[in-house]
Symmetry: C2
Subunit: 740 residues, 2 copies
């Protein structure tokens, strides 16, 4: 397909779609696909076409897989108190609200979130399969004219509770996909913009624009809901991110849908070339033909060992948890329980875990870059940006997929196909082992158990970046949250083609580039990524304490020992939130235990899980810098707060243009009691990224993780009785259908 | 098999074997198995029986594997300058030395190391396949009477060079397996010991003893080569480590083979019970029958994509390296090159990489524990303790195995079967990906490449602990070194059966236990693990520089930007060794680049690789504490030294009872020039371990890693042209032969 021809076509379709949408405020019970045909590939329509898409799910030949009976999800019913709203329920909400006074005004209105209002935690914890569900309610965030509203809709009684209406707090809801789309085409209606593009010798049909959340810089915004727009050339490549029209920034009002301002600081900067930027397999001139890899696959001829009951309840090995897609968090894992082999009881570990917020500040203070300080969940919707997974490549062959059901801006439900995958992983790793040394005189002894894990994955493509989120469950009780970064860099155009051209001052100091020259005229700008997880651990029930198990050097007394020193443990139970604000240190190390002080093991240790940090990064920004104030939830690596249903989003419910007055940091500084309470642990996983040429034109995945790990939770190694691999159990495989 | 009966039998066989060995000093050209029959399972004999063991290597039905033509390795010949000594060569060395004056004395003598004396680096780098090998030489460490000797033996000319003879520096060579065995049975010849055991009501045939390196505590040792011995009960379990005879310590002279001292501080401490300690699958009463896992396997029906040329040269995807087993380091990876897809040239990355030393201090200063400050490579031989891998469980089905050829104490070669495995791993991970957001107006775009890697693995079982060492090669140019810890804890007996029995002082402070109560009468003692890697990086050739790429907060000028701060990069090239002594900090982060300052990329960046630390730990011991002085190579996480052939072992060549005057820390403090030189990077991976009940009776694997990663080494993403998975390429599998 020719991108040039294509972009022009899009523009027309998008415009047509939008006009139709904006003039239409009627609610209907049936999901509608009036505006877009199935074949139209416009941005707005594309998001609509996820609904009732009859494309068959790819199924491998020989692997039996549980799969939903219907793909359109129209007849789905909720089976668990935490099940997401169904297509029918979203339609019902839309219908209820269509007759509500709030939406009777002629002012434009849009729905920014229609999700399940989760029942109270105790109701969920006490609910048993077979009993009736607690009342189903929807939590709705809507915008009417220039106001935001938070509503709760009781789906059976049709009662609408105006929870916060209108909202007076600063900040705005997540952009809708429709708003993002409107921002992408808005520049083309602007004459200044068109002139600028043409003056650079660029064909307008080659241009693609992308909406970039504007951050908040102390009311320079004038109480308007704004977005910045920057544009790229698609000429000769699908990888337009590598061809920025540098320095050209438009300011767009998301409410009144108008371009307010055009800044152009980059007229002298050439658009980088398209050479070597495309990454499509179908378009590669030189495929990898030197020493190609033979096919390799994780195979399970008897099928996976897990089941997904009632569409959302995952049961595997000793684990059981509820899994659901979420438009803001991406995916939510709830009511996680692990089976205790000693007592044969399933024990509570975590009530709820998800990605609460991201913070991605770029390190270039100049006009076209300073505002790039993304908070992807609260600004773009981490789940809304999770595209369908690519079977066989995003997830291995033995994966099972789950769809998301979300609501469009007009309240219409749509299906995001294959948004999550679940699979068992065997990576050749070892669960536990021991070989006895023959010098001990023991009989030959070699016992080894392979490690098999369960992975739940989604990938959110927030513009250029792709965030691969894995939750991995091990049979030994460990849960790992892993974030992989791939996708495409946000790059900056430059006049430099080579590092040796960079200007130096009299002292010989090179001009600040804010990054690395990756290719001719391309700078990869330094940036950070912070991913903040909400972890409502309930170890053997909700009432837990957070214990800092600090390792300290201990000097011996004179004459006590030939040793001068050793290391001992000093335990401190956090009394209030400030005790739970943790800055990790390699030289003042601790373990971080979440214990149930009311329950001990046979030999008297409190049962617990520990948060095990691994590689991470800490923000170096000035604490008083506005982006860091808004992203203050990254000021510590760990925070502990008392459970509060309204404190789930680390950057505040209304993150978009937030002022930093409703963040986790603000809540935590209230310093509430957290000892022997229902507590929530927050962990921030950080990455510094200094780009290098290997990141061009698309980045090899970089990943990091942290663990939640049982610590005196089980009486002993819970996989002592695991089975080793035996040759006769393993699959018998032949080569695929295409011969070598 | 009854452990009780068995132990008694062993004792007899071991004693018999030893008497034969000690009286025999004759050299023979043929490897001998005179002392032990193939069926004898005694410790000493077991190590001998690795030689000429005709057991067939396990081969899976449908996977073609390269494998050596002969298993006894008798006719192996060296093909590469770095190939380890062959059976024939070791025999030749033994023969040459048998007529050397040094070994003519009647004093007892033993060989502690007979390995290849590697040719000079330049000779190796310049050598090309098909040309003659540089002269083959053996480096020999021998002990004659009370003296150590370092010799080089030219295998073709028979010339013996007395490199250091006798050795005057403090410290001793690695214990031989035969010495370890002698220590395990020595206690039983001691009447005090036998009396003590009987007085505890323990049957002597139930007792197993283990040699524990004694550390060095300022000449308390009196210039003797000593080892401590502690004993355990095997009654009712093979997991004798969980049944310590607490407080009973013997001091043994390794040269004169005499028990010097018996200390007993634990008469009042019961031997912990055997309940729940066994971990053998064959002995488990309650196998894992709840929700068992279906078989799962990594399958490659067309076979692996790598070859091992001439037994040691591994070629896979874009990688090529020499791989060999080593009795001290475990395994050594040399002459690592990676193929550049742009230039079609194989480029040098690393000349040599291996585990140089370990440091494992336990955190209990009391009489029976203070000396436990292991340095496993230099004291026990990390390779000597690497037992045969268990196919299907230690390594996946598609693995290929490599044997080690080592020399026994009398110079006889023997074969350590299946010591290393090499396999391709597919874990369901993503090499790179991007999905385009439809709001951009781009055509639907979803490109994903699966990640396949190559793993080289060995497992060293140094007594109780099992160290899983993985070197993983990624197609994007990244090398990962990963250390997994499993095996069995070193535990301490206690009178306490429950935490609530622990004594408290008047202030309510609990008695110091130095660890966690894991089971009745069992304390898991707190300890650390440090694994120090030698990494002779040669990025595009030997002359490299080490650059600290420091990330710093930069405040903006007033009016410069709405931002107050950003983060920029300050590069500092290390001039001398002290600049290369790195203490990692989360709050003062850096990248650590090894660059070739003489070579740049197309756009002018120096070509480089970076050391990427991940989770690690730092020692908290007093720097002046003797164990920490001996283990001073762990004082920094990174060190950089100029290449010096004699500086390979971070704890010194003679680590056993070393005084800490020949460590990496001492070399580095000479502060030599390291800019634009052939440099060696040293990285220490650390773990703090506070035991928990889940570690009882055998530990689920804990692992950590670090990476060596290209940074502006390639012009662009080197796996841009990688191939995605296609269904038709993947294997067609059926269930194994045993039905469900």
């Amino acid at each position: 397909m020719e991108p040039k021809l294509c972009s022009g076509l899009f523009l027309l379709i998008v415009t047509a779609c939008f006009i139709l949408l904006l003039t239409s405020t009627n609610f209907s019970h049936e999901p509608s696909s009036t505006y877009c045909t199935n074949s139209s590939s416009s941005p707005l329509c594309a998001s609509r076409n996820f609904l009732f898409n009859k494309k068959t799910r790819p199924i491998t030949k020989n692997v039996p897989k549980p799969k939903p009976k219907n793909h359109d999800h129209v007849s789905d019913t909720p089976n668990h108190p935490l099940d997401p709203l169904t297509v029918m329920e979203i339609n019902k909400v839309r219908s209820i609200l269509s007759s509500h006074a709030l939406f009777a005004s002629p002012a434009p209105h849009s729905f920014h979130s229609i999700v399940l209002e989760e029942p109270d935690k105790n109701l969920v914890r006490q609910w048993e399969k077979g009993t009736t569900l607690p009342p189903r309610k929807a939590s709705v965030i809507a915008r009417v004219g220039a106001d935001s509203h938070v509503l709760t809709v009781d789906i059976s009684t049709s009662y609408v509770d105006l929870v916060d209406s209108p909202v007076h707090a600063p900040g705005y809801p997540i952009m809708t996909l429709e708003e993002m789309a409107s921002a992408t085409w808005a520049p083309f209606t602007n004459e200044d913009f068109n002139r600028t593009i043409l003056s650079r010798g660029v064909d307008l049909t080659d241009v693609i624009c992308f909406p970039i959340s504007s951050g908040w810089f102390d009311n320079k915004e004038g109480n308007r809901r704004l977005i910045k727009i920057q544009c790229f050339s698609t000429q000769g490549t699908v990888n337009f991110y590598m061809r920025p029209i540098e320095g050209l920034t438009l300011l767009f009002d998301l409410d009144i849908k108008q371009i307010l301002e055009t800044t152009d600081t980059g007229r002298s900067i050439p658009i980088p070339g398209s050479t070597n930027t495309d990454y499509r397999f179908s378009n590669l001139p030189n495929r990898d033909k030197t020493r190609p890899l033979n096919p390799i696959s994780i195979e399970q001829p008897r099928g996976p060992s897990f089941v997904i009951e009632d569409n959302h309840l995952v049961k595997w090995a000793n684990w059981e948890f509820h899994l659901k897609p979420d438009p803001r968090a991406g995916l939510v894992i709830s009511t996680v329980k692990v089976h205790d082999p000693d007592t044969e009881v399933s024990r509570e570990v975590m009530y709820k875990g998800f990605v609460s917020e991201l913070f991605v500040p770029y390190m270039d203070p100049s006009e076209a870059w300073y505002f790039k300080t993304y908070m992807d969940a609260g600004e773009y919707g981490f789940g809304l940006q999770a595209m369908p997974l690519e079977p066989l490549n995003d997830c291995p062959r033995n994966a099972v997929y789950m769809d998301g059901i979300f609501a469009a801006a007009d309240g219409t439900p749509y299906v995001r196909e294959n948004m999550i995958c679940v699979f068992e992983r065997y990576a050749g790793d070892i669960g536990w082992r021991h070989s006895e040394n023959p010098v001990t005189g023991m009989p030959p002894l070699r016992e080894v158990r392979p490690k098999v894990t369960l992975v739940v994955r989604m990938v959110s493509s927030v513009g250029n970046y792709d965030y691969i989120i894995d939750y991995e469950f091990q049979t030994d009780g460990l849960m790992r949250a892993k974030v992989g970064l791939s996708g495409i860099l946000m790059v900056k155009g430059t006049t430099y083609k080579n590092k040796n051209q960079v200007k130096k001052d009299k002292e010989g100091n090179e001009e600040e580039l804010y990054g690395t020259i990756l290719s001719e005229n391309v700078i990869g700008v330094i940036h950070d990524h912070y991913v903040t997880f909400y972890l409502d651990l309930d170890v053997d029930g909700p009432n837990n304490s957070f214990v800092k198990v600090n390792l300290k050097r201990q000097q011996t007394e004179p004459g006590e020992s030939p040793r001068k020193s050793y290391m001992n443990v000093v335990k401190n139970t956090a009394k209030t939130e400030k005790d739970g604000q943790i800055k990790l240190s390699l030289y003042d190390p601790s373990e971080y235990h979440v214990i149930n002080s009311g329950k001990t093991t046979r030999v008297g240790n409190p049962t617990g899980y520990k948060v095990v940090p691994r590689a991470t990064a800490a923000s170096l920004l000035d604490r008083d810098d506005l982006p860091q104030k808004r992203g203050a939830f990254t000021n510590n690596q760990i925070w502990v707060t008392p459970y509060n249903k309204s404190e789930q989003w680390a950057g505040g419910l209304f993150t978009y243009q937030s002022h930093g007055d409703d963040t986790l940091a603000v809540w935590s500084n209230r310093d509430r009691d957290i000892e022997n309470k229902d507590i929530v642990v927050w962990y921030t996983l950080g990455f510094h990224h200094i780009p290098c040429q290997e990141d061009f034109p698309i980045m090899p995945t970089v990943s990091s993780s942290f663990d939640l790990k049982p610590v005196n939770f089980f009486e002993r190694n819970p996989i002592l009785s695991a089975t080793p691999n035996f040759e006769h159990d393993l699959p018998v495989c032949g080569a695929g259908s295409v011969s070598a």
